[in-house]
């Protein structure tokens, strides 16, 4: 049986390489990982954006530059135009006895308060050299947003793996080889496992590569591989259901949206919903996968916790499989 599974896997890999789809699915996450590396320093450095008049008070501009992003404009009108633009930029402009804050009127309260504070500190002549506070850092270098984006990327990779399986099965269906399998010595189980290997191999390779590209060298890659493996099982399951139950690519495309919903909902639930309400997301394996990844990426978890999370993911996948097994069997007939 192992030989047959291997044959199906190699066959899938060859076909997919010919179509470039596997390569795409391996390369796209890597491109996204590079994108995350490029984006996250800029986002992390975000405090507040200030617009000032060029050469009006170079000392003030240099002062603000230590605390905020400063843009300089030729005159007041240009500052006003910048403030009126769609993003949140606050102008600090001279008046008779000091400076006033120019806003568009729709900035969040925090942006306005931050700008006021900076202007007060400048007017009070509080200099960085006179800093009275001592700062002790724990040496963490990965900002939370980068961690979140990498975590989302890991879930996306497992979804992609599921889609790869679905598309492979659709191809088999259109070539009418799914039903032909029944008259070969290859069992259904071997067929399923063989089909799953491509997606799993792609998911594992892409996930580990993305973690390394985004600088998570020092996390426990074994733990990460376990989570990727367990969340990929769910994607594979969905991929199978999708592939076997869709008659054409149009139907599979439509259900892609349905696949993304629990994933996006789980991420939003974990990140934005307060403690007690998170119970509403416990049904979603993506929630547990995201939570487990978060624990691994922040190096704050331990094996018992991780095993618990993986156990929950596998239990949910098992329940889904038990529920949908008749449909899979029917689809293979």
């Amino acid at each position: 049986m192992l030989k047959r599974i291997w044959t199906i896997f190699i066959r899938d890999l060859t076909v997919n390489m010919r179509e470039f789809i596997t390569l795409y699915m391996m390369i796209i996450p890597l491109v996204l990982a590079v994108g995350i590396n490029l984006l996250s320093p800029g986002i992390n450095d975000t405090t507040v954006n200030l617009a000032l008049i060029e050469n009006e008070n170079p000392e003030q501009a240099a002062y603000f530059d230590d605390f905020a992003h400063v843009e300089l404009f030729r005159d007041e009108q240009r500052v006003e135009d910048r403030v009126m633009s769609r993003d949140d930029v606050v102008g600090i402009l001279p008046k008779d006895n000091g400076y006033y804050i120019m806003t568009q009127g729709n900035e969040p309260e925090s942006v306005l308060e931050y700008s006021k504070l900076l202007n007060v500190l400048y007017e009070s002549d509080v200099q960085l050299e006179d800093a009275r506070s001592e700062i002790i850092e724990f040496g963490r270098t990965v900002p939370p947003l980068k961690k979140m984006l990498v975590n989302i990327l890991l879930l996306l990779i497992s979804m992609l793996a599921g889609m790869l399986i679905a598309m492979n099965i659709l191809e088999e269906k259109s070539d009418r080889t799914v039903s032909a399998i029944n008259v070969t010595p290859t069992s259904r189980r071997a067929f399923i496992l063989g089909k799953s290997f491509t997606g799993m191999a792609v998911a594992l390779f892409s996930s580990i590569a993305c973690l390394l590209i985004t600088g998570f060298y020092d996390i426990n890659l074994g733990q990460a591989a376990l989570v990727v493996f367990s969340s990929t099982i769910l994607s594979l399951l969905i991929g199978f259901i999708q592939g076997l139950n869709s008659d054409d690519v149009m139907e599979a495309a439509g259900s892609v949206k349905l696949m993304f919903l629990p994933m996006v909902g789980s991420i939003a639930g974990y990140e934005f919903v307060t403690g007690n309400w998170q119970i509403f997301f416990y049904w979603s394996p993506f929630y547990w996968a995201y939570r487990a990844n978060d624990m691994i990426l922040s190096k704050s978890g331990n094996w018992p916790q991780l095993i618990l999370f993986i156990g929950i993911i596998l239990a949910i996948c098992g329940a889904v499989y038990a529920l949908l097994a008749p449909r899979i069997v029917k689809g293979l007939q």
Binding site: I101, S133, I136
Partner: protein, 369 residues
């Protein structure tokens, strides 16, 4: 007339398929999430751990000062667990913060490390002057660290008074911000309704290519552009219906539905034409998948800027989903700018027409690929 009859035919075919209903179910699910899972305002409280390494009197002065901000002017004794240890703390809850006053510096350090928040120790230096020690994670930006390091050079009361006396001149007034639930609508309808059109359109075409429908059109009285346009109409109809399902129960009759329809139709037309153009270069969805996927990810980047007000590099603004999100936002904003969605719609329509014209030429030339 031929266009109308093609559209009718496509609509009947679509209504027999799975996709049409998936769209509607998806819109209903999003609506349920909006109404029941997304609160009107996310809890914006931050957590802070403090230790006053001061004589008893000093501790009381600072604690009482913080208590003035407490919601019920009373603190609560709690126990916090971190790193396998239990720490006793006095909890003060204000509008914006949950402040835990603990009884040792070690507790501050442990809690700040394990909970990944800021911890502070207030003590006295050798000259009996107040000395602030902050525990940060390390990933905070240099600019934020600079601010924290000088924040206590002036007394909090003096700073507060001066901040309150700052003159602020808003260029426009009467602005009412959206609540968090309303604020999540533009990305949801932008991506669910408009941008998915690209993916769906491409899928439609690949299906028809496989079945030889496009080649068959060459020998009918109808033209290829009518066939393509009738497909676009079906996608537009589903995007409008699903958009309205999401938006109507949340926004009621407070918004300009004429503008909303216009932007939904033009953005949907743009995305569908883009999907058609991509489909014209490939044989099947598998081959086009990489391009479509990368495009969808690129189009999602402005979402980050949408939710992070201080981050908005110039290059983000040339990505089409940026004006799309801002346009939808202006429509649902009370007193929103009418000109912006109108200009954005005109832009999407113009680019959509150009893309459609190019696609039509490509399909006419090749009949299949």
């Amino acid at each position: 007339m031929k266009l109308l009859s093609s559209f009718k035919k496509e609509l009947i075919l679509a209504s027999r398929g799975f996709y049409f209903y998936v769209e509607l179910i998806f819109a209903l699910v999003i609506l349920a999430v909006l109404l029941f899972a997304i609160p009107q305002n996310f809890s914006g409280t931050s957590t802070e751990y403090l230790y006053f390494n001061l004589p008893q009197e000093g501790k009381e002065v600072f604690t009482n000062h913080l208590l003035e901000e407490d919601l019920d002017a009373k603190s609560e004794m709690v126990e916090i667990e971190a790193d396998g240890k239990t720490f006793k703390a006095e909890l003060i809850v204000t509008d914006e913060e949950e402040i835990y006053i603990v009884d040792s510096e070690e507790a501050v350090r442990t809690l700040a490390y394990s909970e990944k928040v800021i911890g502070a120790v207030l003590g006295l230096d050798e000259n009996n002057q107040l000395h602030y020690k902050y525990y940060l994670q390390g990933y905070e930006s240099t600019r934020l660290k600079n601010l924290i390091s000088i924040l206590n050079n002036e007394s909090t009361d003096v700073l507060k008074e001066r901040i309150d006396n700052q003159e602020v001149r808003p260029l426009s007034t009467g602005y009412e911000p959206l609540n968090d639930r309303e604020n999540t609508i533009p990305p949801l309808i932008g991506f669910s309704g408009s941008l998915m059109g690209m993916f769906i359109m491409a899928s439609y075409i690949f299906l028809d290519k496989k079945e030889g429908v496009i080649k068959a059109y060459a020998v009918t009285a109808s033209s290829v552009w009518r066939y393509l346009m009738s497909k676009i109409f079906v996608v537009l109809l589903t995007s409008v219906v699903s958009g309205l399902i999401i938006i109507m129960p949340v926004m009621g009759f407070r918004i300009n539905y004429g503008l909303l329809l216009l932007l939904l139709l033009t953005t949907g037309f743009f995305a569908s034409s883009l999907g058609l153009l991509i489909a014209s270069f490939y044989n099947n969805l598998m081959k086009a998948f990489g391009v479509i996927y990368l495009l969808v990810i690129l189009l999602m980047v402005p979402c980050i800027a949408y939710f992070i007000p201080g981050w908005g590099p110039v290059w983000i603004k040339i990505i089409p989903s940026y004006p799309m999100l801002q346009g939808f936002k202006e429509i649902i904003l009370p007193n929103g700018n009418i000109a912006y969605p109108l200009i954005a719609s005109a832009g999407f329509l113009a680019v959509g027409i150009v893309l459609f014209a190019i696609t039509n030429i490509r399909f006419k030339k090749t009949l299949s690929v």
